[in-house]
Symmetry: C2
């Protein structure tokens, strides 16, 4: 609470308590988000390895379109802006592609079943 270090009334104290409580919740949610994202990338890497091993194409526009529509609908249900949900998925997909490119650039094509994080990846 850098802006109000010496509350002099009980109301000030209440406000700081409420701010602190909300920020604790934000921090808890952020921790959950980071751990879920880590788990999500494990699955996209698994899909990438499967596709590489079995000669399936890395990109699947139909799948991606379904994901976008589904996330937009889930966002609307939870009162989140559907446009933001779509931007969010696009942001994540860009990172999946970045993983792929970064490793492909340093190691050439990924060998089948190598466990490389650079295998072509589903979004």
């Amino acid at each position: 609470m850098a802006t109000n270090e010496n509350p002099t009334t009980s109301e000030d104290g209440d406000v700081l308590d409420q701010l602190h409580s909300a920020r604790e919740s934000i921090d808890n949610i952020d921790a959950a988000l980071v751990h879920l994202l880590a788990e999500r990338f494990k699955f996209t890497q698994q899909v990438g390895r499967l596709k590489a091993k079995h000669g399936l194409p890395p990109a699947d526009p139909a799948r991606e379109s379904e994901q976008i529509q589904r996330l937009r609908a889930l966002a609307a249900e939870s009162h989140l802006d559907p446009a933001f949900a779509e931007k969010f998925l696009t942001f994540i997909i860009a990172e999946v592609i970045h993983h792929h490119e970064r490793i492909a650039g340093s190691a050439g094509s990924a060998s089948a079943g190598s466990g490389s994080v650079g295998a072509p990846s589903d979004s």
Copy 2:
């Protein structure tokens, strides 16, 4: 599975089953992410309303810096790229600011305790 619609061997069927299972997990994680993001924005809006009502400044660079360092550490623990975690937080903060600007532009300054999503918002 647009690229392999008629598997002719049991191995093909196994691969499709594994792909399907991984994609189901990705979809479950995405649903959880959307719902957590919706909840996170509720808290940032609550913080924004508190700050507006009590005359606290909307931005808090020290708090933001702490959030970034904490998320980078959590990312490292869960084998997620810390640079990605920081980009992710920056992406979310941009949306919080966007909420604020969008509503401020259409409704002028938010009145105290109005429940507006356009109140100045913590990140």
